[in-house]
């Protein structure tokens, strides 16, 4: 207390009612929030579901499923924390914290996105059961040949509305049956539940369906509709005419600037986070950083803030 009294020695004091200030401010801010909520509401665009994807873009749905089966999907080649691949592993210089942490959320796309859901729904479907048995019993080279052949057939498949007509493919083995059943599961809505199944009854983890939906055209199209793509500052935007996470402007800026978008493009996320972390640490420790801690002294905003004080002093 003594040092505080010494600190303020010579400073003019005036009565100040902190509690009244808080109560009045609370009323004003509450009124402001009520008015904004009543006038502008809040965004709530419905989620994209597996059913939406399968019905609206059956060819793309089947493509993502096929990529998941043959191990060529973005998730199958992702790397930690989902698997041991390297497709999406990023580096900060020579270091990759992503690799250090390893596989914590194991995802086997063929099993989790295709074979598992098909097996779950194969009861009473002898054709599907037989197809799965044939597929699983085949050597991996044969599976790959079937998948390649089906890819060619899928490329020629005309999609009209929710209907997908894949040409007859005698060299595709059991894959056409599997893919058509998977599309039917998607279009019925069953896949939304099947991707959540686990040995437990309750489920709150949407990792698997979100990883599937993430790489579909339906998701990207919906995001583009609301200006949510990365090149339109999407990280800080949200659906509708709402402010979004405006406070992420600095972080999002890194996604718009070279070299983050050019030479560093393969590691943009890691380098953007590293950059914003360094800037945050500088902000946090600015009191002890020579030069930076003098910036407000040389920018006369303080003269504006305390203009009455300085006027009284003169």
């Amino acid at each position: 207390v003594t040092s505080k009294k010494e600190y303020y020695k010579g400073v003019k004091f005036a009565p100040y009612d902190l509690v009244k200030e808080f109560v009045v401010a609370l009323g004003v801010v509450a009124l402001l929030v009520v008015i904004l909520a009543a006038a502008l509401s809040s965004p709530d665009v419905p989620s994209v579901t597996m059913k939406t994807v399968a019905v609206q873009t059956p060819q793309n749905y089947t493509q993502v499923a096929l990529d998941s089966l043959d191990g060529n999907s973005a998730v199958a080649t992702y790397g930690p924390p989902y698997n041991n691949q390297t497709g999406s592993v990023q580096f900060i210089g020579p270091f990759s914290p992503q690799d250090w942490l390893g596989v914590h959320i194991p995802i086997n796309t063929a099993q989790d996105f295709v074979l598992g859901p098909l097996a779950e729904s194969s009861a009473g479907d002898s054709v599907l059961k037989s197809a799965l048995t044939t597929f699983k019993a085949a050597p991996s080279s044969t599976q790959a040949a079937w998948e390649t052949a089906y890819q060619s057939a899928l490329n020629k498949a005309p999609a009209t509305g929710s209907s997908l007509q894949v040409p007859a493919c005698p060299t595709c083995g059991p894959v056409p049956v599997m893919m058509s059943r998977l599309l039917a599961l998607g279009q019925s809505g069953a896949m939304d539940g099947l991707l959540l199944t686990s040995p437990r009854f309750f489920e709150t983890d949407y990792t698997r369906p979100l990883l599937f939906i993430n790489y579909t055209d339906a998701m990207a199209n919906e995001a583009a509709k609301y200006n949510l793509l990365g090149e339109t500052w999407g990280v800080m935007n949200e659906t509708g005419n709402y402010p979004g996470q405006a406070w992420l402007w600095l972080y999002t800026t890194f996604y718009q600037l070279p070299p983050y978008t050019t030479a560093w493009a393969a590691n943009t996320d890691a380098l953007a986070i590293a950059s914003v972390t360094i800037l945050s640490l500088l902000l946090m420790f600015v009191p002890w950083i020579p030069g930076l801690n003098r910036i407000p002294r040389y920018i006369p905003v303080y003269r504006l803030i305390w203009r009455d004080y300085y006027r009284d002093q003169s």
């Binding site: 303020y8 509450a30 929030v33 999406s88 914590h104 949510l228 996470q245 305390w306 300085y310 002093q313």
Partner: protein, 214 residues
């Protein structure tokens, strides 16, 4: 002396009762700039109140109930107000050099509150259970994974993000706000800079507390 006695003595010396809620402030505090901090605090109170209602009715309530949607809108705009006033408070504190004269920890606690609040708001978006949640989660996962954080902070796991949003982060932000306010009350507001060419009597600075920063 018992540990309780030591704590009591320390508190009474460093933060006497009358300093918690003083009835006087330096005259220069009568300035709208000093309202940004209290406006931030008021927004946080509204966030907690509306968040408690939303949590009580469950994460899906607001999608199917008009009242629920309105409460969500209140929560949403309280969050926007919280961040808006906090940023104003942060920048005005910066331009005041508010960390001077031994107030470095006060500044650090404020910046930490700001940074944790950003992550709290982020988990709020992930907890909405709509397209924004899906899109933000799927886009953010790559950033989280790229630095290893995704291994234990899975933005695609609704249950985990909801838990962080309604319990863990609010507790941390509340603790940081409490620390920040306590430090403000312990140290008092910083004095204005001396004017370099002022003919005015320079404000006293002889009693600069130990550990002060320029």
């Amino acid at each position: 002396m018992s540990m309780t006695g030591k704590l009591q003595r320390t508190l009474s010396q460093r933060l006497p009762y009358e300093e918690l809620l003083p009835e006087e402030q330096p005259a220069y505090v009568h300035n709208y700039v000093y309202l940004f901090g209290v406006a931030t605090l008021c927004s946080f109170a509204l966030l907690i109140a509306t968040g408690v209602i939303l949590a009580a009715f469950g994460p899906q309530w607001w999608h199917s109930s008009n009242i629920g949607h309105f409460v969500n809108s209140l929560h949403y705009w309280a969050a926007q107000a919280f961040m808006f006033f906090m940023v104003l408070h942060l920048w005005t504190a910066f331009f005041q050099g508010a960390w001077r004269d031994g107030r470095g920890l006060t500044w650090v606690s404020g910046v930490l509150t700001f940074l944790i609040s950003i992550v709290t708001a982020f988990t709020g978006y992930l907890s909405q259970q709509n397209f924004d949640s899906q899109w933000i989660a799927t886009q953010a996962k790559d950033a989280m994974n790229s630095v290893g954080a995704g291994a234990f902070f899975n933005v695609l796991n609704f249950g985990q993000m909801y838990g962080f949003h309604v319990v863990i982060f609010p507790v941390i932000v509340s603790a940081l706000l409490g620390t920040h306010l306590t430090l403000v009350r312990m140290k008092g507001v910083v004095k204005p800079y001396d004017l370099p060419t002022s003919r005015a009597r320079p404000a006293p600075s002889a009693a600069k507390p130990k550990g002060g920063v320029s």
